[in-house]
């Protein structure tokens, strides 16, 4: 994948970008560029610093150190100018519950100094776009989670932004709602809107992002397209072996007795199964059988970003 940042000025440009709250470092000297028209993702566990980064880009959180420009402008001095061209979908649905669905969009357009008529025109168009036209005059509160999310997305588009910031756009939504949101975001991307999003869903990152960074403990630990990351950090396929736990045996690994030795790039032992990272899962499975291994179940699958993610950020739970 070519990086258009070389030819055009990046929409977001960060070098050594740092955010500290007291002694706690939320974002630790990260570098990245987001090119126009690109869909760029921040992937990482909770507390990795994704939201802090997004808030700095959104100009609602002053940077502690480093440089950050958005549209080539400094957020400390041109906040209003930047925000005029920015669409923001925050993590929580901060809708105005005292207003109706349509009014939420109308007044948001007014915050951007749109004329009432223009604001109304765009609001109606966007409600159509996110399939909420029939709910126009309803209160916000009774809407489902998916509808609220779509409404927030519609709201973020009121100023026809060239850059859209989405903080966990589909967290907490059911599968149908997620796919609808993805579909709308994909259409925006096709129209040339730059997308910058955070997620901890691997499938979301694979679906939407041209390029992504993996963040962990305030730092960027990997950069690339989903495919590049998979190629770089894991093998093409993963073989998952499950063993029946025999009554007299306490340790599964006793089964294997080094029988997988030399077959794979990497072997990971989990409490319930063994993961074998390899280019050809079928072949390894066959060899293992020949060597006398008798797993209860065998699964060969393509590696995913999830494997990359777990490899880079570890399996232990981050609280």
């Amino acid at each position: 994948m070519t990086n258009p940042a070389n030819t055009t000025e990046p929409q977001i440009h960060a070098r050594g970008l740092t955010k500290r709250f007291g002694t706690f470092t939320a974002v630790d000297a990260v570098d990245f560029d987001v090119a126009p028209g690109e869909a760029f993702g921040f992937l990482g566990p909770n507390g990795a610093g994704k939201t802090s980064t997004m808030r700095m880009i959104g100009t609602v959180s002053p940077i502690t150190a480093g440089t950050l420009t958005i549209f080539g402008l400094d957020p400390a001095h041109h906040g209003a100018k930047i925000r005029a061209r920015l669409g923001v979908v925050p993590q929580a649905d901060t809708l105005d519950e005292e207003l109706s669905v349509l009014e939420n969009l109308l007044i948001y357009g007014r915050y951007f100094d749109l004329a009432w008529a223009e604001s109304r025109r765009r609001a109606k168009e966007l409600l159509e776009f996110v399939q909420l036209t029939e709910r126009s005059n309803d209160k916000v509160e009774p809407l489902s989670g998916g509808m609220k999310r779509r409404l927030v997305i519609a709201r973020s588009l009121m100023n026809e932004p060239s850059l859209l910031l989405l903080d966990e756009p589909t967290t907490g939504l059911d599968p149908q709602a997620r796919h609808l949101v993805w579909d709308r975001l994909y259409r925006l991307k096709q129209r040339g809107v730059t997308l910058c999003l955070t997620t901890h869903y691997m499938d979301e990152a694979e679906q939407l992002c041209d390029r992504l960074v993996v963040m962990d403990k305030a730092r960027i630990v990997a950069v690339g397209s989903p495919r590049q990351l998979i190629d770089e950090y894991v093998t093409r396929e993963v073989l998952e072996l499950r063993f029946r736990r025999a009554e007299d045996e306490t340790d599964d690994s006793a089964h294997m007795d080094g029988k997988l030795e030399g077959l794979a790039d990497r072997i990971e032992q989990l409490p319930d199964r063994v993961l074998v990272y390899t280019a050809d899962g079928e072949a390894v499975a066959a060899t293992a059988y020949e060597r006398g291994l008798r797993p209860a179940s065998v699964l060969v699958r393509r590696s995913t970003l999830e494997d990359v993610f777990l490899r880079l950020t570890g399996r232990s739970l981050v609280e």
Binding site: R83, V88, E98
Partner: protein, 269 residues
């Protein structure tokens, strides 16, 4: 509510959008706002005429003896301006700030924190101003019915004066609310507002107090507001009105400055 057009671009007065938002909300429940207009009227009738019947006349500081209703009418106008401003900038503002997260949303747009603070003050002044207009209308109607509540045509200036009172209390109220952490903290605000309402020369002249207490009361904002408006309605102009004006304008402006600083601290982390 107009943007200033200059060289084809619109330089908008952004705080108005906050007012527009509040108007959209209250479109559905305008009764709540409208009903606030009756409170000073009820007080006027009950205290002015009811208690007035027990009291008879009261002496103004220039020695004129006037019916009790004439004495408290301007004070009730000032108090209702204060209350209108406080309604909006205490509980309502706190709800929008802490629960509805309204301003977290607004700051993702080109609106600034100062726009937010100015907009909310403007709104509070509109609400207080509405009550003041209503009150002035009642005064005029009663005057026409042979129950004069004002002694001078300058009473019309009571309206802008009430707006100044609104501005002062809206600014201070909002600044105070940015320090509030939980609903119960508003009790402390009441602990300041209630004695002010009762003791600021609202219901009786402050000559009754010992000199030291008088001096103290004269330093409170509601006293200054009552003094200013009463000066207009009784036509009893005096130089101290300049103090009233400066005091109240300063109070609102300092409140505004504190508010936008505090909002920065609360919202831009």
């Amino acid at each position: 509510m107009v943007g200033i057009r200059r060289l084809g671009t619109t330089v908008a007065f952004r705080p108005r959008h906050v007012v527009e938002r509040n108007l959209l909300v209250y479109r559905h429940t305008f009764m709540v706002i409208l009903s606030g207009f009756f409170e000073p009227l009820f007080y006027l009738f009950s205290m002015g005429y009811g208690v007035g019947s027990l009291i008879g006349n009261v002496q103004l500081s220039d020695g004129r003896s006037v019916p009790y209703a004439v004495f408290i009418a301007p004070a009730l106008l000032a108090s209702s301006a204060m209350n209108g401003a406080i309604y909006e900038t205490s509980n309502n503002f706190f709800f929008k700030l802490k629960y509805a997260k309204l301003y977290d949303t607004i700051i993702t747009t080109p609106m600034s924190l100062l726009d937010v603070a100015r907009g909310e003050i403007l709104w509070a002044m509109m609400r207080g101003g509405l009550y003041a207009v209503g009150f002035v209308v009642v005064i005029v109607v009663l005057g026409a019915l042979g129950q004069p509540l004002v002694l001078s045509p300058l009473a019309l200036l009571g309206f802008p004066a009430a707006l100044v009172v609104c501005y002062a209390f809206a600014g201070a109220g909002m600044a105070a609310t940015t320090f509030v952490r939980k609903w119960r903290d508003f009790d402390y605000m009441q602990l300041v507002l209630m004695p002010m309402f009762l003791f600021s020369g609202t219901f009786y002249p402050i000559d009754a107090y010992p000199p030291l207490l008088q001096a103290f009361v004269q330093c409170t904002p509601l006293y200054r507001g009552v003094h200013l408006i009463r000066a207009f309605t009784t036509g009893m102009l005096d130089p101290a009105m300049a103090i009233d004006l400066v005091y109240l304008l300063l109070m609102g402006t300092v409140g505004l400055a504190i508010t936008s600083r505090r909002l920065g601290r609360l919202l831009l982390s």
